[in-house]
C-alpha cells in the first residue's frame, strides 16, 4: 500500500483545526477563572511555548525525509527499546486526549441542549464518525478539514465581531497583574492545552510532501500563529464581554453568542456556534485518533493500519463513558493533570528526541568531514 501524503498547506489546516478545535470552547473559562483580566497575557506566553515545541518538530522533520514513519526515525535515533518507550508515551497521551475530547462533546450536549439524552449517544456517534473519517485516510481527512477549519474560523470570528457592542474596555483594567502566580498557573494550563499538544504532530510529519522545506516552515508557523491569535482573541473578547464573571461561564463563546442581538434580525445564534464547537472537537478527535491508530498499528506490527481503527474507537468510547465521575473530576483531569502530562512528559520527550537527532547528525557530519 502506498504511503499517504498531504501538502504543507493541508498540514497547516490540520494544526489550526486541532489547536483551535476544542480549545476555543474550553480554554477561555478556566483561564479567566485563574488569571482574570490578565488571562490573555498567559495565552500569548503559552503560544510562545508551543512555538518552541514546533521548532523542535521542524528540526526533526529536516532529518526525517525519506523515513517511512516517525517511529522508524526515532528507532534510528535512539534504538528500538527507547523508540518503543517513546511511542508508548505518545499512545498514553492520546488514550487520554481522544476520550476526553469526546466526553467534552457529550458534556456540552447533556448540559446545554439535550439534558435527558444519555451521554453514550453522543460519545458513540461522535467517535463512529471520527473512526469512519480515519478509515477514509489522511488525504481525505486533510482535504475535508481545510474547508471545515475555514468555516470554524469564519463563524467564530463572526460571533466575536457581532458581539462587539457588548464589549467593555474597562474590564481589561488594571493591566498590570498584582501577582505573577495566577499568570504562571494560566500559562501552565494553556501551554499544555492546547498549544503544547502540537507535539503530537511529530507523528504526521513524515506524511508531508513538501517540495520546498521553506514553504513547510512558513505554513506551519503561519497556521500556528493564526491559531494562537484566534485563541488569544477569544479569551480577550470573553474578558471584554463578561469581565470578572467570565470565569464562571463554562462555555463562554456559546454564552457570548447568546448575548448577540442586532436589530431583532440577528439573535439567538448560539446554535451556530454550538455547531462550530462540535465541528472543532470532531476535527481534533479525528486527527488524534488517526495519530493514535498509526502508533498502535506500528507498535503491534499490523499489516493493514485500518485494522486497529475500530478496536481503538471502541476503547475510546468506553473510556470516554467511564473516565470522568463528575464535572469536578473533569476539571481536575483536563486542567490540572493533562497540562502537566503534556508539558512535563510530552514536550520533554520531544526535546529529548530533538537533542538525540542533533547529536546523531552532528556526529555523522563530523565523521563525514574527517
Amino acid at each position: 500500500m502506498n504511503k499517504e501524503t498531504i501538502s504543507a498547506g493541508q498540514l497547516a489546516a490540520l494544526i489550526i483545526s486541532t489547536v483551535v478545535g476544542s480549545g476555543i470552547v474550553y480554554i477561555p473559562n478556566p483561564l479567566t477563572a485563574i488569571a482574570r483580566q490578565h488571562a490573555w497575557m498567559s495565552m500569548i506566553a503559552a503560544y510562545l511555548f508551543g512555538w518552541a515545541v514546533l521548532c523542535c518538530l521542524v528540526y526533526m522533520h529536516r532529518h526525517m525525509r525519506g523515513e517511512a514513519s516517525f517511529f522508524s526515525h526515532i528507532r534510528k535515533m535512539v534504538g528500538r527499546p527507547l523508540a518503543a518507550a517513546a511511542a508508548l508515551i505518545l499512545i498514553c497521551l492520546l488514550l487520554f486526549a481522544v476520550p476526553a475530547i469526546v466526553a467534552g462533546i457529550a458534556n456540552f450536549f447533556t448540559s446545554v441542549m439535550m439534558k435527558e439524552t444519555p451521554a453514550y449517544v453522543f460519545s458513540s456517534t461522535s467517535l463512529i464518525v471520527c473512526a469512519l473519517t480515519v478509515r477514509a485516510g489522511l488525504e481525505v481527512m486533510a482535504r475535508m478539514f481545510v474547508l471545515l477549519a475555514g468555516i470554524m474560523l469564519a463563524v467564530s470570528l463572526a460571533v466575536l465581531l457581532l458581539a462587539t457592542p457588548g464589549y467593555h474596555l474597562e474590564y481589561l483594567l488594571p493591566l498590570a497583574p498584582q501577582s505573577v502566580k495566577p499568570l504562571l498557573h494560566a500559562f501552565l494550563v494553556a501551554a499544555g492545552f492546547p498549544f503544547g499538544e502540537v507535539l503530537l504532530f511529530c507523528v504526521l510529519l513524515p506524511y508531508v510532501n513538501a517540495a520546498k522545506p521553506g514553504s513547510l516552515v512558513r505554513k506551519l508557523f503561519g497556521s500556528f500563529a493564526i491559531a494562537g491569535a484566534m485563541m488569544t482573541v477569544s479569551v480577550l473578547c470573553t474578558i471584554l464581554a463578561f469581565g470578572p464573571a467570565a470565569g464562571s461561564f463554562q462555555y463562554s463563546l456559546y454564552r457570548l453568542a447568546s448575548e448577540i442581538q442586532i436589530a431583532e434580525i440577528i439573535q439567538r445564534i448560539e446554535s451556530v456556534i454550538g455547531i462550530t464547537m462540535i465541528l472543532g472537537s470532531y476535527m481534533k478527535a479525528t486527527v488524534y485518533l488517526y495519530i493514535l491508530n498509526i502508533l498502535v498499528a506500528e507498535c503491534l506490527g499490523l499489516s493493514d493500519k485500518r485494522l486497529s481503527v475500530f478496536p481503538l474507537m471502541l476503547i475510546c468510547i468506553f473510556l470516554s463513558l467511564t473516565m470522568f465521575d463528575n464535572p469536578a473530576d473533569f476539571y481536575t483531569q483536563v486542567y490540572v493533570i493533562w497540562p502537566f502530562m503534556v508539558v512535563a512528559v510530552g514536550c520533554s520527550l520531544i526535546l529529548a528526541l530533538t537533542l538525540a537527532t542533533w547529536v546523531k547528525y552532528r556526529n555523522a557530519e563530523k565523521e563525514g568531514g574527517a
Binding site: L307, F318, M323, F340
Partner: protein
C-alpha cells in the same frame, strides 16, 4: 444494565460489519495484535455495563501524575 449491554452489542455489530472483509484476511500477527487490543476493551466494557467502580486508565494517570501536578498548581495558587 440491559440498555448498556445493548449499546455494546450494537457497537460491536457495527464495527464487525464494516470490518468483515478485513477480519477474514487477517494474518496470525494481525490476530495477535487485535487480541491485545481486546483485553483492555473487555475490561472497559465490564466497567461500563456494570457501572463498576474499578480502577480505570485515568486512575493510573492520576496516581502517577496527580501528586506532582497538584503540587505545582498548589504552589501557583499559593496554598503550599
Amino acid at each position: 444494565m440491559a440498555e448498556r449491554l445493548a449499546v455494546v452489542l450494537l457497537l460491536f455489530a457495527l464495527a464487525a460489519g464494516i470490518q468483515r472483509g478485513e477480519l477474514r484476511r487477517m494474518s496470525a500477527r494481525d490476530k495477535f495484535g487485535l487480541a491485545a487490543l481486546m483485553v483492555p476493551m473487555a475490561y472497559l466494557i465490564v466497567i461500563f455495563v456494570l457501572q463498576a467502580d474499578w480502577p480505570n486508565w485515568p486512575d493510573l494517570l492520576r496516581l502517577v501524575f496527580g501528586p506532582p501536578s497538584e503540587r505545582i498548581v498548589g504552589m501557583l495558587k499559593g496554598a503550599v
